[in-house]
């Protein structure tokens, strides 16, 4: 269980302190997939970086499994908007990069890395370098990399935002499938409402000024899910409801 209690983040600036996150209290159960949905600049990335232990917490607390956060945790896997692969390494070596950085024995993880690449359809591309892969393929490598060291939490910061619309839809399904196999606690930042609803057990709506969570919406679709979920009237209704909330919050903020 991940518990956030009154989490705040304030940055100093010449014009006075800027409040990036203004008091977020949320519980996320183990194995739950939660999306944080909101307009850009609402502090959702900052919140994720605090969960990764990469940003200090100005006030409040984050505990994971009862343990307070003190810094970077080795049981978290990170995915960014850009794949951020090392250009000179093969797909396989990029997936194994966390093993190297964590000073773990490589030979114990090679089979797992290859299995992960197979599972996302990159079995024939393991020896290719990033520049020989498409944008979607690179992001699949990044997804595999975030799982190679068997983390218990996946933290994803708009991982599909830089992709074209068709690839993006495809990647959501890849992630859905990958998550069904590995069942990590997933925290997924996005500004795509459909993506959030398709992937998540819960969607948290965040707004800016103040940067807080204004809604916590349960997504009722059974797992395992596939793309057909999106065709149901219920899906459309939830998407419409969330869109209404976001539009309202933007109007209030403006």
């Amino acid at each position: 269980m991940i518990s956030l209690r009154g989490v705040r983040k304030t940055y100093a600036s010449p014009a006075g302190p800027i409040e990036a996150v203004a008091g977020v209290s949320v519980d996320i159960a183990e194995g739950e997939f939660v999306s944080i949905l909101g307009p850009s600049g609402c502090g959702k990335s900052t919140l994720l970086m605090m969960l990764a232990g990469l940003e200090s917490i100005t006030a409040g607390s984050i505990t994971i499994g009862g343990q307070p956060m003190t810094g970077p945790r080795r049981d978290a896997g990170l995915v960014f908007q850009d794949a951020t692969l090392l250009p000179w390494l093969s797909a396989r070596d990029n997936v194994l990069f966390p093993i190297k950085m964590m000073r773990l024995p490589r030979e114990k993880y090679v089979a797992r890395a290859e299995e992960l690449l197979h599972s996302v359809g990159l079995g024939d591309f393991m020896d290719k370098r990033p520049r020989e892969l498409s944008g979607g393929m690179r992001q699949r490598v990044a997804l595999c990399r975030s799982l190679v060291h068997t983390p218990s939490i996946m933290l994803m910061d708009e991982p599909f935002s830089a992709l074209d619309a068709i690839t993006r839809d495809e990647m959501a399904l890849v992630l859905l499938d990958l998550w069904a196999r590995h069942r990590k606690t997933g925290i997924f930042i996005t500004h795509s409402i459909r993506e959030a609803v398709l992937l998540s057990d819960r969607v948290l709506v965040m707004t800016k000024r103040p940067a807080v969570v204004v809604a916590d919406v349960k997504i009722p679709f059974a797992r395992p899910r596939d793309e057909s979920v999106q065709d149901s009237p219920e899906f459309t209704a939830i998407v419409a409801r969330l869109r209404g909330m976001i539009e309202h919050s933007i109007k209030v903020a403006a």
């Binding site: 970086m49 990764a52 990469l54 080795r74 908007q81 951020t84 250009p87 950085m101 964590m102």
Partner: protein, 277 residues
Amino acid sequence: MSATQLGDVTPVAAPPAAPLNAEKRDLSRHPAAQIVLPVAFAAAVLLLWEFLCRAYAVPEVILPTPSAIYARIISAWPFLVQHAVPTGTEAAIGFLLATVLGIALAVLLSYSRWAYAALYPNVIFFQLIPKIALAPLFIVWLGIGSSSRLAFSMFIAFFPVVIATLTGLNATPPDMLRLCKALTARSWQVFLSVRFPYALPHIFSGLKIAVTFAIIGVIVGEFITAQAGLGYLILFASSQAETSLIMASIAMLCVVGLVLYGAVAGLERLILRKYGH
């Protein structure tokens, strides 16, 4: 169109295949043309030079013809080689010292905020001043032997290495560094596996500038002090009004420059084949 309803799918016939090679081929991009054209241009300039010198009977002291320079290169060849060796060796050593010290300083600057704050503005200051003017100081300090030329050569080749390496070490995408931090990587690991390889293309562009600077440094040193070397030979020939020997020495200097530059560019190709982006 009126019969078309929303969502109807109308099959579209494939367009007829376009004839291959429909676009006119641009011969100037042909690999052979890329070699032939510059060589032909240089040859044309030499021919024109030769023709004008002969047509206007330009005295050899003012401007010797390319054929006269060629004849001088042949007749003075052992002599030219003998002088090219110290110039080339000193430039190579000056360059290597500049490379080692430049990269070392850049690494220090990128890891220590204090060192960066104290030293970087001064590095930029030295980068901006005309360093050639400082050459006589090196002779005052280190004498007229090869050590003053080496030190001066290293001194002027050093700055492009520092600045390029520093730029390169800062070229790692911030998210990559965040990932390393999240994985609890040690800073030496991040340096060896991420930041240094990311810096390599930048470092090599600095090294290619530095190698030409190192030769300039040695030549300037030789102009002032040396009893041997191509810089000395140029000055000596000039005092004898031996213009064709000046030209022959300059041609030899071009060869030295090309060899050293070629060595760096060759190493770059080799290394960036692996670490290029």
